[in-house]
Amino acid sequence: MPRSQSTSERSTSSQQTNPSRWQGAGWPAFVSSLKDVAVIEDAPMRGTFATDAGGTSYGMPHGVVIARSAAQISALLKAAQAHRVPVTVRGGGLTTEGESVAFGGVLLDMTGMSKCLFIDPQKLEVRVEAGIFWASLAEHLRRQGMDYLSAPLNLTSSVGGTLGVGGIDVNSARFGCSADQALALQVVTPTGEIVECSDEANPELFRRVILGYGQFGVITEATLRIRRYTPIRMRYYYYASLRTAIEDLQMLDREQAADYTGILTMMDAAINLLVAFDSGEREAAFDAKWHSRVRGMGEAAFSARAFLSYLVRPWRWGEALFLRDRKRQLFPEFRRPEHTRDGKMEDRSVVFSRAVWKFWGGRQMVIPDLATSSAKFAEAVERGNAVCKRFFPRYTLYCVGIRLREEHRPHYEMSCIPPDAAGWAYGCEFEPMIGDGTWSRDHLQSFKNAIYDIGVEMGASYYRFGGMMKGYVRRVFGDPLVDRHLAMKRAADPAMILNRDVIF
């Protein structure tokens, strides 16, 4: 082998992205030692958690525990340390790389702890149990005229899971990644201590747990910053060039011209820059100052241009028909009257998320992504776009900016935030439209590897590190940094039982 044996050994051992199943040594003793923790062992129930939203990775836990309290989780983790039984934590199960799949051991279902504890409209804070879905949280907040800052465009992502990996929204260029809205957490450490942490109390633990991929504890409760709810005013601009659209997106973000920005595409054929505002004043200011600088077209002009362009390219008529059908199905979904009042969109997270599941969801989902500094972003998207083209006839790109908070630098270490980003990081998700099709996992894995390889070559990062891309952590961050985190992990979790095989 060309590389020195020790490096080679270390990097290859961390590349087993489909972990070996834990074989169950000492399981009965472990279960009987758990007096007050109910472990569900019947096969159909365990099977409920055998895969995640990605639908490509399967792992059968030996038992499932429905989370009920921090004390219960503490007892579970103490016993797991003593018996060396792996514990995998699952929130909404919306991982796509198998991170929330248990390859044996215990699957801890955090949705059992999903209540909204209290809302403080004066201090603009909410305290929740961490298994709560963002959509459920929104239901509670809206009764008080409040809203969260930012959350994944997915109704069933859990708060705890999002805080552990990042989370992006179309307002991330303004509010940062979703994990940045956490003010304080209650965490059960891998050895079972129940600890409250924040920037003031136990700040080191807080830094490790936020964007920590579940390595340093189970988040049981979270205090989040909130804001007043506003319906939004939407604008769409259309582009035929990815680079132009990205330049406009970055310009709007830099100048804070809009409250919501993002790019959503159909392949690289129809590129949509979405811009939205919280108030009429912001919209009027945009019209006065920025509208003329945005190079995108209106819907009618773009349709006419696309029509002419396809007219002379008969070999691409299949694509043209696809775009037309997609537009016919998708547009009404974004303009449903029950979510529109006085021309403003209400409950944008519901509207977007429902469309995401309906039009992009499926039994199998792979969404590899790249996160880069602003300067590298356009090139990363163009290279990723070329990979998508090679692997799938139909796909979508979703790009947003992520406002970085200088004071959160320590949170960002070894996370989805690329180390060279300043001001804003940019992320792009590459999502093939699989629909009802069935691809071998092998084909999907080759696709993901091709995207992730771009990240290694360009010095980028990824929104989420999961089991299946564990092989990239060392290649992206290098051994010294990863080894430092590994040492912290070993100290915090001596038996290495909590969410093992996710990144280490």
């Binding site: 082998m1 060309p2 992205t17 074989q23 099977g47 399967y58 059968m60 691809w439 092998d442 084909h443």
Partner: protein, 402 residues
Amino acid sequence: MRTVDTLIVGASLAGAAAAKRNVDAGLETVILERKELPRHKICSGILSPRGHRFLIENFGPLPREALHEPTSCRGVTFHFPCLIPLSMDFFGGPTPHLHRRYSDHWAIKRSGAEVHDRTSFVGLEDHGDHVIVHARQSGNPVTYKARQVIGADGPSSLVIRSIYPDYPKQIPWFFVGQKFHDIVDCPLDPQYFHFWFHPQLGHYTWSHARDGRQIVGVGFKRGDNFEARHRQVKQYLEDKHQVRLARHEDEEGCAENFGPSLVNRYVFGKGNVLITGQATGFLNMIGEGMSCALHSGAIAGEAVVEARLRGRPVQEMYRRMIASEVRRTTDQWNPLKIAFGKPHEADFPQALMKLSWRERGLVLRDMWNFLLLYKEFKWGRQIAALAGQRLFSAGYSAQRWL
């Protein structure tokens, strides 16, 4: 009678990959192996980069004992009657030189499945919702009841014969044999796998270093004489490449099902019985079957899991999912893909372009003459037709599979 979810026949790499997918999904999985483990396996042991990646991603880093010396292989070198060598490095760096006796056993153990060795498959009956499998364990009859059976028992698959008794008569058969020689003097680079495009030497002629000895291998249509074929190649190496070898000490050989990959004539099974690995006919262009075996084995395993959860017939799931592996493998034999795509794991067109115009002409002439050796199998027209169809579709027709 033992009742299991999935029964896999053959403790090979394909079997290990299929087993891993089933075990991970919590299915009770048993592997039957007719020999005692760890068992010997005839193989060059040179794994392709894709296969290497699969092993690492699914089973972790290879232990030292699973490798021969030299432990890795940098690429392949093609030789031609015109004596212009063409060396190509594998994409993504050197790949391991597997010691199949230990690498297979290691993968099988890492899969987590239960293994019954010294147990030979005898026959099966598919009853629609389950399959009864008859086997002999150390000579005594044993019976298994399984929801699905995966046949991963190699080119001369008994599982295929139990569902398609005529299958062996439908395809041409080859024999490949290798002899191990002590080296007196060998100028062939031990870091490469050497292959000869030479119609007089045989259908498949190769040589590489292993554990201080040199392997000289020949492949030919079944019925020819191994001894004579091998003697001729050894002499040729001595005359043209100054390779001086002692008399061989060991030799081994086996039947090969070369051909189905070229013409998209794979066999994937029937009812609840899936065929996977080299038994299906998967073979890469350098004659490497391990990476296809690993990937197709994994796909067979996934198909069993998916079929159950979706309540669909397992053959339907398998055939839908295996399409990507078929496309990848058959693309390697597709002349249009070879010319304009990059279907292989080493860059042949680039190596060719490094030569002068005259040398390129000679190499291509020699390759053509070598291909004429295969004329009798009448594959040319089928390959051309497949290449034509492939232009207009995303894959190869499933209609041609058995």
